[in-house]
Symmetry: C2
Amino acid sequence: MSNKDYKKCFNPNKNFRGHTKELARYAKALAHPARIKILNFLNNSKYCYTGDFVEVLPMAQSTVSQHLKELKEAGLIIANEQPPRVSYCINKDAWEKAKKLFMDFFDV
Amino acid sequence: MSNKDYKKCFNPNKNFRGHTKELARYAKALAHPARIKILNFLNNSKYCYTGDFVEVLPMAQSTVSQHLKELKEAGLIIANEQPPRVSYCINKDAWEKAKKLFMDFFDV
DNA sequence: TTTTTTTATCGTATATTTGCGATATGTAAA
DNA sequence: TTTACATATCGCAAATATACGATAAAAAAA
């Protein structure tokens, strides 16, 4: 090791810390252009229906639905049933949490 | 669509814009705790050898080498041959580019 | 020259992701 | 009730990611 202070940034028991896993998890949620676009979209629109995304994304409805599910499971968006449609919006708490993790990571 | 100005954030030809793909690509590079740790590590140490990472990451040397390769291919780190060892450091240009993309994404 | 050290790559197994069409579900409209 | 609509889920195929042990490569040390 080129310097000897690695214990302050690595867990000595060789497991990953919570915030490291959390950041990786959010990064994974952002790791596809369609999901980036969905989040951009929601940040400009307050809320959107599934069909809105299907209109503009270059993939089938079922695939869009799957990407929405992943973002939901990552906690970044919230679904609202408005039968027969479903609207989505940003989960602001999770969004701020993710923002903070990325800010810290990039030392902003 | 809940508002009608989506053309300013979506490419009408239904393909993803360069910066969307670029951000997704960087996010993918960060989408594993080991790679997060490697980058944290390099940001605290100027440079490190492969073996330094192997010491502290909970995985085999070959796996660590694979993660380093991915970060290198994403452009975020640079390898320096110092036989028989190889040292790595942050690619500052790419790092700043990634930082900017994430900042813009999070509207910072 | 032989051995050791350090790292990358190969081969392989398993898991996850991505994508699609088809289908199911649940509601509203006819 | 039947039909139409919006969305989620299923089943499947292909691609990619993750991880490991074994091996290769290349230089330094003995």
